[in-house]
Protein backbone atom coordinates (compact mmCIF):
# COMPACT_ATOMS: atom_id res chain seq x y z
CA UNK A 1 0.00 0.00 0.00
CA UNK A 2 2.80 2.37 0.88
CA UNK A 3 4.31 1.75 -2.53
CA UNK A 4 1.00 2.54 -4.21
CA UNK A 5 0.64 5.80 -2.31
CA UNK A 6 4.15 6.78 -3.20
CA UNK A 7 3.58 5.88 -6.82
CA UNK A 8 0.38 7.90 -6.91
CA UNK A 9 2.16 10.83 -5.35
CA UNK A 10 4.99 10.52 -7.82
CA UNK A 11 2.58 10.18 -10.70
CA UNK A 12 0.82 13.37 -9.67
CA UNK A 13 4.09 15.14 -9.49
CA UNK A 14 5.25 13.94 -12.85
CA UNK A 15 2.27 15.57 -14.49
CA UNK A 16 3.85 18.81 -13.51
CA UNK A 17 7.48 18.13 -14.31
CA UNK A 18 7.80 18.55 -18.03
CA UNK A 19 10.16 21.47 -18.25
CA UNK A 20 13.41 20.71 -19.99
CA UNK A 21 16.64 22.57 -19.83
CA UNK A 22 19.45 22.31 -22.34
CA UNK A 23 22.67 23.93 -23.51
CA UNK A 24 23.55 27.04 -25.49
CA UNK A 25 19.99 28.04 -25.00
CA UNK A 26 18.83 27.89 -21.38
CA UNK A 27 15.57 26.07 -22.01
CA UNK A 28 14.82 23.79 -24.98
CA UNK A 29 11.57 21.97 -25.58
CA UNK A 30 10.97 18.42 -26.71
CA UNK A 31 11.09 19.47 -30.35
CA UNK A 32 14.54 20.95 -29.94
CA UNK A 33 13.25 24.52 -30.02
CA UNK A 34 14.85 27.02 -27.67
CA UNK A 35 12.58 29.07 -25.44
CA UNK A 36 12.57 32.78 -26.18
CA UNK A 37 10.61 35.85 -25.36
CA UNK A 38 8.29 37.19 -28.03
CA UNK A 39 10.53 39.82 -29.58
CA UNK A 40 7.80 41.37 -31.71
CA UNK A 41 7.25 43.65 -28.75
CA UNK A 42 9.55 44.92 -26.03
CA UNK A 43 10.32 42.63 -23.11
CA UNK A 44 8.83 44.37 -20.08
CA UNK A 45 10.87 44.68 -16.90
CA UNK A 46 9.23 45.88 -13.69
CA UNK A 47 11.74 47.39 -11.29
CA UNK A 48 10.71 47.73 -7.67
CA UNK A 49 10.31 51.11 -6.00
CA UNK A 50 13.24 50.94 -3.61
CA UNK A 51 16.90 51.80 -3.74
CA UNK A 52 20.07 49.76 -4.09
CA UNK A 53 22.84 50.87 -1.73
CA UNK A 54 23.93 54.30 -2.89
CA UNK A 55 21.90 54.12 -6.07
CA UNK A 56 18.54 55.86 -6.09
CA UNK A 57 15.58 54.21 -7.74
CA UNK A 58 15.94 56.29 -10.88
CA UNK A 59 19.67 55.56 -10.99
CA UNK A 60 18.85 51.86 -10.83
CA UNK A 61 16.43 52.31 -13.71
CA UNK A 62 19.26 53.87 -15.68
CA UNK A 63 21.55 51.02 -14.72
CA UNK A 64 19.07 48.37 -15.87
CA UNK A 65 18.63 50.16 -19.19
CA UNK A 66 22.37 50.48 -19.62
CA UNK A 67 23.01 46.80 -18.96
CA UNK A 68 20.17 45.28 -20.96
CA UNK A 69 21.39 47.44 -23.85
CA UNK A 70 24.46 45.17 -23.99
CA UNK A 71 22.06 42.56 -25.39
CA UNK A 72 19.62 44.73 -27.34
CA UNK A 73 22.48 46.67 -28.89
CA UNK A 74 24.06 43.70 -30.68
CA UNK A 75 24.13 44.33 -34.41
CA UNK A 76 21.50 42.23 -36.16
CA UNK A 77 19.40 41.52 -33.07
CA UNK A 78 15.70 42.17 -32.75
CA UNK A 79 15.27 42.67 -29.05
CA UNK A 80 13.97 45.60 -27.05
CA UNK A 81 13.21 46.16 -23.42
CA UNK A 82 10.63 48.38 -21.75
CA UNK A 83 11.11 49.47 -18.17
CA UNK A 84 7.71 49.79 -16.55
CA UNK A 85 7.91 51.90 -13.42
CA UNK A 86 5.17 51.97 -10.82
CA UNK A 87 3.95 48.40 -11.15
CA UNK A 88 5.96 47.51 -8.07
CA UNK A 89 5.91 50.81 -6.27
CA UNK A 90 6.91 49.49 -2.88
CA UNK A 91 10.34 48.76 -1.51
CA UNK A 92 10.70 44.98 -1.72
CA UNK A 93 12.40 43.42 1.27
CA UNK A 94 12.52 40.13 3.16
CA UNK A 95 9.12 40.98 4.62
CA UNK A 96 7.26 41.16 1.31
CA UNK A 97 9.34 39.50 -1.40
CA UNK A 98 7.14 36.43 -1.44
CA UNK A 99 4.56 38.62 -3.20
CA UNK A 100 6.90 38.73 -6.20
CA UNK A 101 9.26 35.77 -5.94
CA UNK A 102 8.05 32.83 -7.99
CA UNK A 103 9.19 29.46 -6.75
CA UNK A 104 6.29 27.11 -7.34
CA UNK A 105 3.96 26.10 -10.09
CA UNK A 106 0.94 27.30 -8.11
CA UNK A 107 2.44 30.72 -7.57
CA UNK A 108 0.14 33.57 -8.61
CA UNK A 109 3.26 35.35 -9.73
CA UNK A 110 3.31 33.20 -12.84
CA UNK A 111 0.22 34.96 -14.12
CA UNK A 112 0.69 38.46 -12.83
CA UNK A 113 2.32 39.80 -16.01
CA UNK A 114 5.10 41.14 -13.84
CA UNK A 115 8.77 40.51 -14.50
CA UNK A 116 10.04 41.88 -11.22
CA UNK A 117 13.50 43.34 -10.91
CA UNK A 118 14.19 43.43 -7.20
CA UNK A 119 16.93 45.31 -5.36
CA UNK A 120 17.71 43.35 -2.21
CA UNK A 121 19.03 46.34 -0.34
CA UNK A 122 19.91 44.61 2.93
CA UNK A 123 20.26 41.12 1.42
CA UNK A 124 17.47 39.86 3.65
CA UNK A 125 15.99 37.97 0.71
CA UNK A 126 19.29 36.29 -0.11
CA UNK A 127 19.75 35.34 3.55
CA UNK A 128 16.26 33.85 3.65
CA UNK A 129 16.95 31.63 0.66
CA UNK A 130 20.64 30.78 0.92
CA UNK A 131 21.65 31.20 4.56
CA UNK A 132 22.95 34.03 6.66
CA UNK A 133 26.48 34.71 5.47
CA UNK A 134 25.67 34.15 1.82
CA UNK A 135 24.16 37.63 1.91
CA UNK A 136 27.76 38.79 1.56
CA UNK A 137 28.40 36.53 -1.42
CA UNK A 138 25.38 35.99 -3.70
CA UNK A 139 25.33 38.82 -6.22
CA UNK A 140 21.98 38.02 -7.75
CA UNK A 141 19.78 35.46 -9.42
CA UNK A 142 17.35 35.51 -12.31
CA UNK A 143 15.64 33.41 -14.90
CA UNK A 144 12.51 32.71 -16.85
CA UNK A 145 9.69 31.23 -14.79
CA UNK A 146 6.63 31.22 -16.99
CA UNK A 147 5.89 29.99 -20.49
CA UNK A 148 2.95 30.66 -22.80
CA UNK A 149 1.94 27.05 -23.24
CA UNK A 150 3.11 23.50 -22.97
CA UNK A 151 5.49 23.83 -25.91
CA UNK A 152 7.69 26.08 -23.76
CA UNK A 153 8.59 28.02 -26.89
CA UNK A 154 7.57 31.42 -25.56
CA UNK A 155 8.75 32.78 -22.25
CA UNK A 156 6.12 35.05 -20.73
CA UNK A 157 7.36 35.57 -17.21
CA UNK A 158 10.71 36.08 -15.56
CA UNK A 159 12.27 37.53 -12.45
CA UNK A 160 15.56 39.04 -11.36
CA UNK A 161 16.95 39.77 -7.90
CA UNK A 162 20.12 41.77 -7.27
CA UNK A 163 21.94 41.96 -3.97
CA UNK A 164 22.94 45.47 -2.94
CA UNK A 165 24.30 44.84 0.55
CA UNK A 166 28.02 44.94 -0.08
CA UNK A 167 27.91 47.67 -2.66
CA UNK A 168 29.97 50.65 -1.76
CA UNK A 169 27.82 53.22 0.04
CA UNK A 170 25.23 50.86 1.47
CA UNK A 171 24.50 52.08 4.98
CA UNK A 172 22.67 48.90 6.00
CA UNK A 173 25.51 46.81 7.27
CA UNK A 174 29.19 46.16 7.09
CA UNK A 175 30.14 43.14 5.06
CA UNK A 176 32.25 40.45 6.64
CA UNK A 177 35.54 39.31 5.23
CA UNK A 178 36.27 42.66 3.65
CA UNK A 179 33.91 41.75 0.81
CA UNK A 180 32.88 44.61 -1.41
CA UNK A 181 30.64 44.45 -4.46
CA UNK A 182 31.94 46.87 -7.02
CA UNK A 183 29.77 48.68 -9.52
CA UNK A 184 31.32 46.35 -12.10
CA UNK A 185 30.01 43.39 -10.10
CA UNK A 186 26.51 44.86 -10.19
CA UNK A 187 26.69 45.65 -13.90
CA UNK A 188 28.13 42.26 -14.80
CA UNK A 189 25.58 40.44 -12.64
CA UNK A 190 22.74 42.34 -14.29
CA UNK A 191 23.96 41.60 -17.79
CA UNK A 192 24.74 37.92 -17.06
CA UNK A 193 21.53 37.23 -15.15
CA UNK A 194 19.30 39.06 -17.60
CA UNK A 195 21.06 36.89 -20.21
CA UNK A 196 19.72 33.82 -18.39
CA UNK A 197 16.29 35.43 -18.21
CA UNK A 198 16.43 35.86 -21.99
CA UNK A 199 17.24 32.19 -22.39
CA UNK A 200 21.04 32.05 -22.69
CA UNK A 201 23.02 29.26 -21.04
CA UNK A 202 26.65 29.28 -19.90
CA UNK A 203 29.63 28.88 -22.22
CA UNK A 204 33.18 27.73 -21.53
CA UNK A 205 34.78 29.65 -24.40
CA UNK A 206 38.29 30.85 -23.53
CA UNK A 207 38.48 28.84 -20.34
CA UNK A 208 42.27 28.91 -20.42
CA UNK A 209 42.17 32.70 -20.26
CA UNK A 210 39.70 32.57 -17.39
CA UNK A 211 41.76 30.06 -15.44
CA UNK A 212 45.00 31.88 -15.93
CA UNK A 213 46.18 34.36 -13.41
CA UNK A 214 46.66 37.21 -15.81
CA UNK A 215 43.40 39.11 -15.38
CA UNK A 216 44.05 42.45 -13.73
CA UNK A 217 40.79 43.63 -12.19
CA UNK A 218 41.98 47.21 -12.43
CA UNK A 219 42.88 46.95 -16.07
CA UNK A 220 40.00 47.28 -18.48
CA UNK A 221 40.08 45.02 -21.52
CA UNK A 222 42.87 42.58 -20.63
CA UNK A 223 40.33 39.80 -20.14
CA UNK A 224 37.57 41.03 -22.40
CA UNK A 225 37.55 37.70 -24.20
CA UNK A 226 36.06 35.93 -21.21
CA UNK A 227 32.41 35.74 -22.20
CA UNK A 228 29.58 37.38 -20.29
CA UNK A 229 27.93 33.98 -20.02
CA UNK A 230 31.06 32.25 -18.69
CA UNK A 231 29.93 30.36 -15.57
CA UNK A 232 32.13 32.42 -13.29
CA UNK A 233 32.76 36.06 -12.64
CA UNK A 234 36.49 36.26 -13.30
CA UNK A 235 36.95 39.89 -14.27
CA UNK A 236 33.49 41.45 -14.06
CA UNK A 237 34.54 44.74 -15.59
CA UNK A 238 35.71 42.94 -18.68
CA UNK A 239 32.83 40.48 -18.79
CA UNK A 240 30.04 43.08 -18.87
CA UNK A 241 30.31 43.51 -22.62
CA UNK A 242 29.27 40.39 -24.52
CA UNK A 243 32.01 38.45 -26.28
CA UNK A 244 31.42 37.27 -29.85
CA UNK A 245 30.31 33.87 -28.50
CA UNK A 246 27.65 35.63 -26.35
CA UNK A 247 26.55 37.65 -29.35
CA UNK A 248 26.10 34.54 -31.45
CA UNK A 249 23.80 32.79 -28.98
CA UNK A 250 21.84 36.04 -28.61
CA UNK A 251 21.56 36.32 -32.39
CA UNK A 252 20.68 32.65 -32.73
CA UNK A 253 17.67 33.22 -30.50
CA UNK A 254 16.77 36.81 -31.39
CA UNK A 255 18.57 37.68 -34.63
CA UNK A 256 16.74 39.41 -37.43
CA UNK A 257 16.09 37.65 -40.71
CA UNK A 258 19.30 38.86 -42.32
CA UNK A 259 21.86 38.59 -39.53
CA UNK A 260 23.49 35.53 -41.05
CA UNK A 261 23.67 36.91 -44.58
CA UNK A 262 27.18 38.25 -44.15
CA UNK A 263 28.38 35.40 -41.97
CA UNK A 264 28.93 31.72 -42.47
CA UNK A 265 27.86 28.54 -40.77
CA UNK A 266 29.51 25.21 -40.14
CA UNK A 267 27.41 22.13 -39.46
CA UNK A 268 28.19 18.56 -38.60
CA UNK A 269 27.27 15.59 -36.54
CA UNK A 270 29.67 14.00 -34.08
CA UNK A 271 29.92 10.35 -33.29
CA UNK A 272 32.12 8.59 -30.82
CA UNK A 273 34.73 6.02 -31.67
CA UNK A 274 32.01 3.38 -32.04
CA UNK A 275 29.89 5.47 -34.35
CA UNK A 276 27.27 6.40 -31.75
CA UNK A 277 26.06 10.02 -31.59
CA UNK A 278 28.33 12.07 -29.35
CA UNK A 279 26.33 14.57 -27.32
CA UNK A 280 27.66 17.16 -24.89
CA UNK A 281 30.98 17.82 -26.60
CA UNK A 282 32.04 21.44 -26.94
CA UNK A 283 32.67 22.23 -30.60
CA UNK A 284 34.79 25.34 -30.85
CA UNK A 285 35.65 27.44 -33.89
CA UNK A 286 38.97 29.18 -33.20
CA UNK A 287 41.23 31.47 -35.17
CA UNK A 288 44.16 31.85 -32.84
CA UNK A 289 42.69 35.11 -31.56
CA UNK A 290 40.51 34.57 -28.50
CA UNK A 291 38.28 37.40 -29.67
CA UNK A 292 36.87 35.20 -32.41
CA UNK A 293 36.16 31.95 -30.59
CA UNK A 294 32.64 30.64 -31.00
CA UNK A 295 31.35 27.41 -29.49
CA UNK A 296 28.31 25.24 -29.49
CA UNK A 297 27.61 22.06 -27.58
CA UNK A 298 26.78 19.03 -29.72
CA UNK A 299 23.18 18.02 -29.30
CA UNK A 300 22.25 21.24 -27.52
CA UNK A 301 19.32 21.73 -29.86
CA UNK A 302 18.46 18.05 -30.20
CA UNK A 303 14.89 16.99 -29.57
CA UNK A 304 14.96 15.52 -26.11
CA UNK A 305 12.60 14.43 -23.42
CA UNK A 306 13.11 14.79 -19.70
CA UNK A 307 11.72 11.38 -18.89
CA UNK A 308 13.15 11.13 -15.42
CA UNK A 309 11.96 14.61 -14.48
CA UNK A 310 15.34 15.69 -13.20
CA UNK A 311 15.32 18.98 -15.09
CA UNK A 312 17.90 17.84 -17.63
CA UNK A 313 17.78 15.65 -20.71
CA UNK A 314 21.04 13.81 -20.19
CA UNK A 315 19.52 10.56 -18.95
CA UNK A 316 19.60 7.34 -20.91
CA UNK A 317 17.28 7.48 -23.90
CA UNK A 318 16.27 11.07 -23.26
CA UNK A 319 17.90 12.49 -26.37
CA UNK A 320 15.57 11.51 -29.15
CA UNK A 321 17.40 12.33 -32.40
CA UNK A 322 20.17 14.45 -33.89
CA UNK A 323 22.04 13.99 -30.63
CA UNK A 324 25.50 14.62 -32.03
CA UNK A 325 24.49 17.48 -34.30
CA UNK A 326 26.04 20.91 -34.06
CA UNK A 327 25.66 24.18 -35.93
CA UNK A 328 28.32 26.83 -35.50
CA UNK A 329 26.81 30.15 -36.54
CA UNK A 330 28.17 33.64 -36.89
CA UNK A 331 31.60 32.82 -38.36
CA UNK A 332 33.44 35.56 -40.22
CA UNK A 333 34.02 34.49 -43.87
CA UNK A 334 37.25 36.50 -43.92
CA UNK A 335 38.81 34.35 -41.22
CA UNK A 336 40.17 30.81 -41.20
CA UNK A 337 38.87 28.65 -38.39
CA UNK A 338 40.05 25.48 -36.75
CA UNK A 339 37.15 23.37 -35.55
CA UNK A 340 38.04 21.47 -32.41
CA UNK A 341 36.09 19.08 -30.24
CA UNK A 342 36.72 19.66 -26.56
CA UNK A 343 35.41 18.14 -23.39
CA UNK A 344 33.29 20.30 -21.18
CA UNK A 345 34.93 20.77 -17.83
CA UNK A 346 33.55 18.34 -15.28
CA UNK A 347 32.97 21.23 -12.89
CA UNK A 348 30.31 22.77 -15.08
CA UNK A 349 27.29 21.10 -13.59
CA UNK A 350 24.42 22.28 -11.42
CA UNK A 351 24.51 26.03 -10.98
CA UNK A 352 27.50 26.35 -13.27
CA UNK A 353 26.16 23.87 -15.75
CA UNK A 354 26.74 23.90 -19.44
CA UNK A 355 23.82 21.93 -20.76
CA UNK A 356 22.52 19.56 -21.95
CA UNK A 357 24.67 17.36 -19.70
CA UNK A 358 23.79 19.45 -16.67
CA UNK A 359 24.05 16.67 -14.14
CA UNK A 360 27.51 15.52 -15.20
CA UNK A 361 29.81 16.11 -18.15
CA UNK A 362 31.28 13.35 -20.30
CA UNK A 363 34.69 12.12 -19.26
CA UNK A 364 35.56 10.24 -22.45
CA UNK A 365 35.89 13.17 -24.82
CA UNK A 366 39.30 13.55 -26.38
CA UNK A 367 40.29 16.96 -27.60
CA UNK A 368 40.84 16.78 -31.32
CA UNK A 369 40.84 19.03 -34.31
CA UNK A 370 38.16 17.84 -36.69
CA UNK A 371 38.44 20.37 -39.50
CA UNK A 372 39.87 23.61 -40.75
CA UNK A 373 37.47 25.94 -42.45
CA UNK A 374 39.01 28.26 -45.02
CA UNK A 375 36.36 28.39 -47.70
CA UNK A 376 33.32 29.61 -45.87
CA UNK A 377 31.46 32.31 -47.78
CA UNK A 378 29.04 34.97 -46.65
CA UNK A 379 25.64 33.42 -46.21
CA UNK A 380 27.08 30.01 -46.93
CA UNK A 381 27.30 26.79 -44.97
CA UNK A 382 30.15 24.33 -44.73
CA UNK A 383 28.69 20.93 -44.01
CA UNK A 384 31.18 18.61 -42.38
CA UNK A 385 28.73 15.73 -42.34
CA UNK A 386 29.20 12.93 -39.88
CA UNK A 387 32.48 13.25 -38.03
CA UNK A 388 33.73 10.20 -36.18
CA UNK A 389 35.85 11.19 -33.23
CA UNK A 390 38.23 9.26 -31.00
CA UNK A 391 36.05 10.02 -28.01
CA UNK A 392 33.92 7.63 -26.05
CA UNK A 393 30.57 8.25 -24.44
CA UNK A 394 28.26 8.18 -27.43
CA UNK A 395 24.64 7.45 -26.78
CA UNK A 396 21.78 5.46 -28.18
CA UNK A 397 19.08 7.82 -29.31
CA UNK A 398 15.85 7.42 -27.39
CA UNK A 399 12.39 6.57 -28.56
CA UNK A 400 10.48 9.36 -26.93
CA UNK A 401 10.02 7.80 -23.57
CA UNK A 402 11.47 5.25 -21.29
CA UNK A 403 9.73 2.45 -23.10
CA UNK A 404 8.86 1.17 -19.68
CA UNK A 405 11.98 -0.90 -19.92
CA UNK A 406 12.72 -0.14 -16.33
CA UNK A 407 9.43 -1.49 -15.17
CA UNK A 408 8.01 1.78 -13.96
CA UNK A 409 4.94 3.53 -15.31
CA UNK A 410 6.48 6.86 -16.03
CA UNK A 411 5.59 6.90 -19.69
CA UNK A 412 1.93 6.15 -19.23
CA UNK A 413 1.70 8.87 -16.62
CA UNK A 414 3.33 11.39 -18.92
CA UNK A 415 0.95 10.68 -21.75
CA UNK A 416 -2.00 11.36 -19.47
CA UNK A 417 -1.38 15.03 -18.87
CA UNK A 418 1.38 17.42 -19.69
CA UNK A 419 1.80 20.61 -17.77
CA UNK A 420 3.47 23.72 -18.98
CA UNK A 421 4.86 26.13 -16.51
CA UNK A 422 2.17 28.77 -16.76
CA UNK A 423 -0.74 26.64 -17.61
CA UNK A 424 -1.98 26.12 -14.15
CA UNK A 425 -5.12 28.08 -14.99
CA UNK A 426 -6.09 26.09 -18.05
CA UNK A 427 -4.88 22.59 -18.85
CA UNK A 428 -2.98 22.28 -15.60
CA UNK A 429 -6.17 22.90 -13.70
CA UNK A 430 -7.68 19.88 -15.36
CA UNK A 431 -4.51 17.97 -14.52
CA UNK A 432 -4.70 19.07 -10.93
CA UNK A 433 -8.37 18.22 -10.70
CA UNK A 434 -7.94 14.85 -12.35
CA UNK A 435 -5.13 13.89 -10.06
CA UNK A 436 -6.81 15.29 -6.97
CA UNK A 437 -10.08 13.54 -7.76
CA UNK A 438 -8.24 10.25 -8.22
CA UNK A 439 -6.42 10.72 -4.98
CA UNK A 440 -9.57 11.91 -3.19
CA UNK A 441 -11.50 8.86 -4.37
CA UNK A 442 -8.73 6.67 -3.12
CA UNK A 443 -8.70 8.32 0.30
CA UNK A 444 -12.52 8.15 0.58
CA UNK A 445 -12.34 4.49 -0.27
CA UNK A 446 -9.66 3.87 2.33
CA UNK A 447 -11.49 5.85 5.01
CA UNK A 448 -14.68 3.95 4.16
CA UNK A 449 -12.74 0.78 4.75
CA UNK A 450 -11.76 2.09 8.14
CA UNK A 451 -8.09 2.22 7.38
Amino acid sequence: MKKFLLLLALAGGLFFSQNIFAGGPFVVNEEGVASTWDNSSAVALHPEGGTCAGFSNSQMDDKIEENVAHWSGIAGIELDFALVDGSIAEDVTASNYEDYYVDSSDDPGLNDSLNPVIFDDDAGIVADLFGAANRFVVLGFAGPDGFADETLEKIVDGQAFFNCLCLDGNPNDACMGGIVFTEDDLDFTMTHEIGHMLGFDHTQVNQALAEGTNCDLDLLGDCADIPTMYPQSIDPGDQITPHRDDEVIALTLYGNSTWENTLCTVTGSLTDVNGDPLRCADVQAETGDTTDTIAVVSGAFAPASDDDGDGYTDGEGECLSDCGDFTLRGLDPDLDYTITVKSIDSSWTGGSSISPCGTGQLSGIKEEEISTVTTCTAGGTVALGTVQTASTGGIKEGDGGDGDDDGDTTESVRIGCTLSLTEQVDIPLSCYLMTLILFGLFLVKRVGEGV
Binding site: M1, K2, L5, L6, L8, L10, G12, G13, L14, F16, S17, Q18, F26, V27, A94, V102, D103, S104, S105, L110, A127, D128, L129, F130, G131, A132, A133, N134, V137, V138, L139, G140, F141, A142, G143, P144, D145, G146, M176, G177, F188, T189, E193, H196, E211, T213, S233, D308, G309, D310, G311, Y312, S347, G350, G351, S352, S353, T435, F439, R446
Partner: protein
Protein backbone atom coordinates in the same frame (compact mmCIF):
# COMPACT_ATOMS: atom_id res chain seq x y z
CA UNK B 1 1.61 4.02 11.24
CA UNK B 2 -1.08 3.81 8.58
CA UNK B 3 -2.24 7.35 9.29
CA UNK B 4 1.36 8.44 9.08
CA UNK B 5 1.72 6.70 5.76
CA UNK B 6 -1.32 8.51 4.40
CA UNK B 7 -0.15 11.86 5.69
CA UNK B 8 3.31 11.25 4.31
CA UNK B 9 1.88 10.31 0.94
CA UNK B 10 -0.29 13.42 0.88
CA UNK B 11 2.73 15.46 1.78
CA UNK B 12 4.81 13.92 -1.00
CA UNK B 13 2.00 14.45 -3.44
CA UNK B 14 1.66 18.13 -2.73
CA UNK B 15 5.39 18.56 -2.47
CA UNK B 16 5.84 17.37 -6.01
CA UNK B 17 2.66 19.02 -7.21
CA UNK B 18 3.90 22.40 -6.17
CA UNK B 19 7.56 21.92 -6.88
CA UNK B 20 9.23 24.93 -8.38
CA UNK B 21 9.34 25.45 -12.11
CA UNK B 22 11.80 28.30 -11.81
CA UNK B 23 14.69 28.06 -14.24
CA UNK B 24 17.14 30.47 -12.76
CA UNK B 25 20.78 30.90 -12.13
CA UNK B 26 22.87 32.45 -9.44
CA UNK B 27 25.86 34.74 -9.60
CA UNK B 28 28.22 34.79 -6.68
CA UNK B 29 31.28 36.71 -5.67
CA UNK B 30 34.46 34.69 -6.04
CA UNK B 31 35.90 34.22 -2.57
CA UNK B 32 39.35 33.62 -1.26
CA UNK B 33 39.88 30.64 1.00
CA UNK B 34 40.32 33.04 3.92
CA UNK B 35 36.95 34.65 3.22
CA UNK B 36 35.23 31.29 2.90
CA UNK B 37 36.69 30.11 6.19
CA UNK B 38 35.72 33.33 7.95
CA UNK B 39 32.19 33.38 6.59
CA UNK B 40 31.42 29.72 7.14
CA UNK B 41 29.47 28.91 10.25
CA UNK B 42 30.48 25.26 10.06
CA UNK B 43 33.18 23.44 8.11
CA UNK B 44 32.87 19.67 8.04
CA UNK B 45 33.92 16.60 6.20
CA UNK B 46 30.63 14.86 5.88
CA UNK B 47 29.34 11.67 4.28
CA UNK B 48 25.76 12.08 3.18
CA UNK B 49 23.45 9.41 4.54
CA UNK B 50 20.02 10.70 3.62
CA UNK B 51 18.35 13.29 1.42
CA UNK B 52 14.66 13.96 1.68
CA UNK B 53 12.21 16.65 0.80
CA UNK B 54 10.06 18.36 3.34
CA UNK B 55 8.11 21.50 3.94
CA UNK B 56 9.15 24.44 6.04
CA UNK B 57 7.20 27.67 6.26
CA UNK B 58 5.10 26.74 3.26
CA UNK B 59 8.13 26.12 1.11
CA UNK B 60 9.54 22.86 -0.17
CA UNK B 61 13.03 22.31 1.19
CA UNK B 62 15.59 19.57 1.00
CA UNK B 63 16.94 18.07 4.20
CA UNK B 64 20.43 16.71 3.90
CA UNK B 65 21.63 14.40 6.65
CA UNK B 66 25.18 13.22 6.98
CA UNK B 67 27.68 11.59 9.25
CA UNK B 68 30.27 14.13 10.23
CA UNK B 69 33.64 12.52 9.80
CA UNK B 70 35.45 15.61 10.96
CA UNK B 71 34.51 19.02 12.37
CA UNK B 72 37.02 21.54 11.11
CA UNK B 73 35.15 24.67 12.18
CA UNK B 74 32.37 24.65 14.72
CA UNK B 75 31.31 21.66 16.72
CA UNK B 76 28.37 19.38 17.11
CA UNK B 77 27.24 15.82 17.11
CA UNK B 78 28.29 13.08 14.74
CA UNK B 79 25.20 13.71 12.65
CA UNK B 80 24.44 16.95 10.87
CA UNK B 81 21.13 17.85 9.29
CA UNK B 82 20.71 21.01 7.26
CA UNK B 83 18.10 22.31 4.86
CA UNK B 84 18.67 23.81 1.44
CA UNK B 85 16.33 24.89 -1.31
CA UNK B 86 15.57 21.87 -3.49
CA UNK B 87 16.77 22.77 -6.83
CA UNK B 88 19.26 20.97 -8.89
CA UNK B 89 16.93 18.47 -10.42
CA UNK B 90 18.43 15.52 -8.61
CA UNK B 91 16.09 13.02 -7.08
CA UNK B 92 15.65 12.32 -3.44
CA UNK B 93 14.38 8.81 -3.13
CA UNK B 94 11.17 8.61 -5.12
CA UNK B 95 10.74 12.35 -5.29
CA UNK B 96 12.12 14.48 -8.07
CA UNK B 97 12.21 18.22 -8.14
CA UNK B 98 11.88 19.93 -11.47
CA UNK B 99 13.27 23.34 -10.67
CA UNK B 100 16.70 24.54 -11.61
CA UNK B 101 18.52 27.32 -9.88
CA UNK B 102 21.72 25.39 -9.68
CA UNK B 103 22.38 24.99 -5.99
CA UNK B 104 24.91 22.31 -5.05
CA UNK B 105 23.71 18.76 -5.21
CA UNK B 106 24.44 15.84 -2.94
CA UNK B 107 24.44 12.09 -3.27
CA UNK B 108 23.94 9.57 -0.55
CA UNK B 109 27.20 7.80 0.14
CA UNK B 110 29.42 10.55 -1.18
CA UNK B 111 31.76 12.52 1.03
CA UNK B 112 32.04 16.30 0.90
CA UNK B 113 34.01 19.08 2.41
CA UNK B 114 31.28 21.58 3.24
CA UNK B 115 31.65 25.13 4.39
CA UNK B 116 28.11 26.02 5.40
CA UNK B 117 26.56 29.40 6.00
CA UNK B 118 24.63 29.87 9.22
CA UNK B 119 20.96 28.94 8.96
CA UNK B 120 18.61 31.76 8.02
CA UNK B 121 16.83 33.11 11.08
CA UNK B 122 13.55 33.31 9.15
CA UNK B 123 13.53 30.15 7.09
CA UNK B 124 16.16 27.86 8.56
CA UNK B 125 17.60 27.46 5.08
CA UNK B 126 21.28 27.44 4.38
CA UNK B 127 23.71 26.62 1.57
CA UNK B 128 27.45 26.27 1.25
CA UNK B 129 29.31 29.56 1.49
CA UNK B 130 29.65 31.01 -1.96
CA UNK B 131 27.20 28.32 -3.08
CA UNK B 132 29.42 26.03 -5.18
CA UNK B 133 32.62 27.39 -3.69
CA UNK B 134 31.97 25.95 -0.25
CA UNK B 135 30.91 22.59 -1.63
CA UNK B 136 33.66 20.16 -2.59
CA UNK B 137 33.21 16.53 -3.49
CA UNK B 138 35.94 14.38 -1.99
CA UNK B 139 37.28 11.17 -3.42
CA UNK B 140 39.73 8.66 -2.07
CA UNK B 141 42.78 8.03 -4.20
CA UNK B 142 45.46 5.68 -2.98
CA UNK B 143 43.91 5.77 0.46
CA UNK B 144 43.96 9.56 0.72
CA UNK B 145 41.19 12.09 0.28
CA UNK B 146 41.51 14.41 -2.69
CA UNK B 147 39.47 17.33 -4.03
CA UNK B 148 39.16 16.55 -7.75
CA UNK B 149 37.72 19.98 -8.59
CA UNK B 150 40.68 21.84 -7.13
CA UNK B 151 42.16 22.62 -10.53
CA UNK B 152 39.19 24.79 -11.44
CA UNK B 153 39.52 26.80 -8.25
CA UNK B 154 42.44 29.10 -8.76
CA UNK B 155 41.77 30.94 -5.51
CA UNK B 156 42.27 27.70 -3.58
CA UNK B 157 45.45 26.83 -5.42
CA UNK B 158 46.69 30.33 -4.76
CA UNK B 159 45.91 29.94 -1.05
CA UNK B 160 47.75 26.65 -0.88
CA UNK B 161 50.72 28.05 -2.73
CA UNK B 162 51.02 24.97 -4.93
CA UNK B 163 49.10 22.95 -7.45
CA UNK B 164 47.62 20.14 -5.40
CA UNK B 165 44.33 18.40 -4.94
CA UNK B 166 45.17 17.01 -1.52
CA UNK B 167 42.42 17.30 1.08
CA UNK B 168 44.99 17.22 3.86
CA UNK B 169 46.77 20.21 2.36
CA UNK B 170 43.49 22.08 2.09
CA UNK B 171 42.48 21.21 5.64
CA UNK B 172 45.84 22.31 6.89
CA UNK B 173 45.44 25.67 5.14
CA UNK B 174 41.98 26.07 6.65
CA UNK B 175 43.29 25.32 10.12
CA UNK B 176 46.08 27.81 9.68
CA UNK B 177 43.51 30.47 8.81
CA UNK B 178 41.42 29.52 11.84
CA UNK B 179 44.42 29.83 14.12
CA UNK B 180 45.34 33.29 12.88
Amino acid sequence: MKIKTKLFSLFIFFTILFSSPFAGALSVKTLTLKQMVELADRIVRLTVTDIRLGEEGGRTVRYITGDVDEWIKGSGSDTLVFSQLPDTGESAGDIQVSSKMGLPSYEVGKTYLLMLAGDSENTGLTAPIGIWQGHMVLEKQNGKWVVPSMKTRPSLIKALGKSTNSYDDLKSAIKTILEE
